[in-house]
């Protein structure tokens, strides 16, 4: 089928204005926020209902055309990459909140709404949607579900999976299925948990019931600088050992400070090599006193670990300012180089100092530049490599260095991904972590929903049919 014919035929299934084709659209949708691999779709569709999604997927099945779901395109592992071309199904016309149930603390929304808009809608009622990936102002709830997104506050509140009560899924054949609902704890197998984090390979989620969590009425936030990374990571270990569970516990290294200074003029002590952002929060009557005590205890631990400077926010404006360092740290790196790749390995907290030393070592060995900002509290690393994506040698070096870091994470008893997903980025690295039997079991789980390979092909599981030969086409050289 020619490109034009495909656009024309899809235009019969939904308003032709919501079917995009042509050079500009194909280019714009050829990658998400993971830019190492790119592959063009033939057409992009923007359905406005679950029924339209189902019709599109059935049409793709009839014509044996691969399809890939996409939310805001802020994913960091290439989950929305149309790896084998075909159709990109965007959820950005599915952006409504369908029902709010304050009494039962949940709401139902369409998949394409931005994460933060959920919290905005119920803030006056003292509630929020707790998972808060750094991209929360733009990333969609559908994308968060696909990647089982985390965020700074997952240390205390858990990742997306803990906040999804029910789903509407259009499966890879175009059947509309319902799982779960607003009442948690339905008997039988828990398909919601299987679908959350399946990276759009089991179909397209179009609607979800999400859990709402009370907004903490007491929050204390501190930004602390340290003379060495080791002092900062030791502080993290000591805080957890003392029995304090902060809402967030984030570490940023010198590279991030340099970027923040370049982008926003934020200044940090000259001798600071690592920053810790620590937030404690609580709900309830005596929360203020309790949280104040916690942050003081944290302050003492920081001092004992040679902290240079401890800033505790006195009001919400100051708190937002301290958070800037974390929320905009990665974006600020755009000042340093045209592209970044953010890795996502997880390691046991106790291994943090050793792991960071290794990251710097690997970066130096491959002559790539790296900065680190990550969820230290749960051992979820985010080494950010920054480079020029127009130079194939740099791309190669970044990919190789990344693989070495991921292997080290596994060696230290960790995992290859904490919250960004496997996507195309790490599919080939899965065998380092899983045995062939493990992987076969995962493939079988996928087969419950689909026997074909049209739905978001080449993602998560390695060595999928016709993906291996395409891989070269995606990577760097073909841009």
């Amino acid at each position: 089928m020619t490109d034009e014919a495909m656009v024309r035929e899809l235009g019969r299934l939904l308003d032709p204005e919501r079917v995009l084709g042509g050079a500009a659209a194909q280019r714009a949708y050829d990658c998400d926020a993971y830019t190492v691999d790119r592959s063009k779709p033939t057409a992009i569709v923007l359905p406005e209902s679950t029924d339209e999604v189902a019709a599109i997927i059935r049409w793709c099945n009839e014509n044996r055309i691969p399809f890939t779901g996409r939310g805001a395109g802020t994913g960091l592992s290439g989950g929305a990459l149309p790896a084998l071309g075909g159709v990109v199904i965007s959820t950005k016309k599915l952006t409504k909140i369908l029902e709010i149930d304050i009494e039962n603390r949940c709401l139902k929304a369409q998949a394409g709404i931005a994460n933060k808009r959920l919290s905005d809608a119920v803030r006056e009622q003292g509630l929020h949607f707790a998972p808060d990936p750094s991209s929360q102002t733009v990333s969609t709830i559908g994308g968060n579900i696909a990647e089982n997104a985390g965020g700074p506050h997952t240390l205390k509140y858990g990742v997306t999976a803990q906040h999804i009560l029910g789903l509407t899924l259009v499966d890879p054949q175009g059947e509309i299925l319902q799982f779960g609902g607003k009442i948690p704890g339905a008997p039988g197998f828990d398909f919601v948990s299987l679908i959350v984090g399946s990276e759009g390979t089991l179909g397209l989620v179009t609607e979800a019931w999400v859990r709402l969590t009370p907004l903490p009425n007491a929050v204390e936030t501190a930004l602390v600088s340290f003379p060495t990374v080791r002092d900062a990571t030791q502080t993290v270990a000591d805080i957890i050992a003392a029995g304090v569970i902060p809402a967030a516990l984030e570490l940023m290294d010198r590279g991030i400070m340099v970027a923040l200074e370049a982008a926003f003029g934020l200044k940090y002590p000259d001798s600071a090599v690592a920053l810790l952002l620590i937030e404690c929060d609580g709900v309830g009557e005596r929360a203020c006193d309790r949280v104040r005590m916690e942050i003081n205890q944290v302050g003492e631990i920081c001092k004992a670990n040679c902290a240079i400077d401890i800033t505790i926010a006195q009001d919400e404006a100051e708190r937002q300012k301290l958070w800037l360092a974390r929320k905009k740290g990665v974006g600020a790196m755009g000042r340093l180089a045209p592209s970044i790749v953010t890795h996502d390995g997880v390691i046991p907290r106790s291994k943090l100092p050793e792991m960071l030393d290794f990251v710097y070592e690997v970066a130096a060995k491959h002559n790539v530049k790296v900065a680190n900002l990550f969820h230290a509290g749960d051992g979820n690393l985010h080494p950010c490599f920054y480079f020029d994506d127009r130079d194939p040698n740099q791309v190669e070096a970044v990919v190789t260095a990344g693989e070495e870091i991921v292997r080290k994470c596994i060696e230290l008893g960790g995992s290859i991904s904490g919250e960004h997903g496997i996507g195309v980025e790490k599919a080939d690295l899965m065998p380092f972590m899983f045995t062939p039997d493990d992987l076969r079991l995962q493939a079988m789980a996928k087969e419950i929903f689909s026997d074909g390979s049209l739905c978001n092909p080449c993602k998560v599981l390695p060595n999928q049919k016709s993906c291996v030969e395409h891989k070269r086409r995606w990577r760097g050289v073909a841009w």
């Binding site: 995009l20 500009a24 998400d32 802020t74 991209s135 990333s139 974006g331 000042r335």
Partner: protein
């Protein structure tokens, strides 16, 4: 590396700009988002796609620069857009857009045209003009020449001693459509001790710069700066002009009227001498909020007026669709954004909507007219002056 290649390469595709972009909010399309447009410009510059392929997405961009506010990498989108549009418009031959710009930039011509257009049927921009410029039916009303507004003489006892002189940018649209706003600017300056000195001035080139005609825009700006009397601050009451003038290397003397007046004590003056019983909401003109980072100043001045109840507008800094001449070049999208703005304004329950740019002013006033004039649309400075002189 070319300037465009360099500027566009600063985008790391994080996508944080998406929800700030009015055209993305309306369409949900990546091609109509800042990230998408930057990528297309970069691709055209690198030769991966043809420049013509990038034209439609760039045409549909309002140039509101809300994406710059959202961008963590400090990508200068406005600059990218100006350069890319300049690249696209650099083709010889008949250009209706260029003719329109030339009329708008010459107040005497514009005034003559508007006087003549009274005899045309209907209230919209002529159909044929709209078709020629946008290929779509018109949405914007033809502006009407205002009737003269007289102000009461000052009470000399109210005025502080003179501190200095200032120049006022009269603006092309402002001079023709809202001449009283210029008069009000002079009056408010006097109220904080500054005497407005007149100077010979032509168009500052902002509209040209924002529509792909950089070279003439820069020449016009230079001429303006050269005519500006030595040492005088330049007070601007049109957001688009102010933003463009501040981009120049000689920007040190340019102030938006609200920032200059606040700095020189108008808020204190208002709280002592002013009074206005009204519910007021404020719409951020893009070239004030995103272009110049001016948000607090107009609000602080309005809030200083005794009797005023300020209600914050939802999506206050989302473009209303006016976008200079955008509502003539892209009527359909401009209309969608105007309706969105109007719904938000109505929800505030305000009786006055204030804003700091003639384009937004006229466009939102049109919506007010269409919806039964329940809200009065005014320039921020008009509200301030009304509170002082009744």
């Amino acid at each position: 590396m070319s300037q465009l290649a360099n500027l566009t390469s600063q985008c790391i595709r994080c996508g944080f700009c998406l929800e700030a972009c009015p055209t993305f909010l309306e369409t949900g399309e990546e091609t109509e988002s800042p990230r998408g447009r930057i990528y297309l410009v970069r691709s055209a510059e690198e030769g991966t796609i043809a420049w013509e392929d990038a034209r439609m997405p760039l045409d549909l961009c309002l140039g509101c620069r809300a994406c710059e506010t959202a961008c963590p990498s400090a990508v200068t989108y406005g600059e990218i857009l100006e350069l890319a549009r300049d690249r696209l418009e650099r083709r010889p031959g008949f250009s209706p857009k260029r003719i329109l710009l030339n009329v708008l930039a010459r107040p005497s011509k514009l005034r003559r045209q508007l006087a003549f257009s009274k005899f045309l049927p209907g209230r919209r921009v002529p159909w044929i003009v709209s078709k020629l410029l946008s290929g779509q039916p018109p949405e914007a009303d033809r502006p009407e020449l205002p009737s003269e507004i007289r102000f009461p003489p000052f009470e000399e006892s109210d005025l502080p001693p003179l501190k200095g002189e200032a120049a006022v940018l009269e603006g092309c649209a402002m001079r023709v459509l809202y001449p009283h706003v210029n008069e009000i600017t002079r009056r408010l300056l006097r109220r904080v001790g500054y005497l407005a000195r007149e100077f010979e001035q032509e168009c500052c080139g902002a509209l040209h710069a924002h529509n792909g005609n950089l070279e003439s825009a820069k020449a016009m700006r230079e001429t303006l700066f050269s005519a500006l009397p030595q040492g005088l601050p330049l007070i601007v009451n049109s957001a688009g002009c102010g933003s463009w003038l501040k981009e120049s290397a000689r920007h040190g003397r340019v102030y938006d009227a609200s920032e200059f007046l606040l700095e020189h004590g108008l808020a204190e003056h208002l709280s002592q001498k002013g009074h206005l019983e009204s519910v007021v909401t404020y719409h951020d003109a893009c070239h004030l909020a995103h272009g110049q980072g001016i948000r607090m100043e107009p609000r602080a001045l309005l809030k200083a007026i005794p009797g005023i109840q300020m209600v914050e507008l939802n999506e206050a800094d989302t473009c209303c669709g006016s976008g200079g001449i955008y509502n003539i070049l892209q009527p359909r999208m401009a209309r969608r954004l105007l309706e969105r703005k109007w719904v938000n304004i109505e929800r505030t329950g305000a009786t006055i909507a204030a804003t700091g740019n003639p384009g937004c002013h006229a466009w939102i006033a049109q919506a007010a007219k269409e919806h039964g004039e329940t809200v009065e649309v005014l320039h921020t400075l008009e509200v301030l002056e009304r509170a002082l002189s009744g």
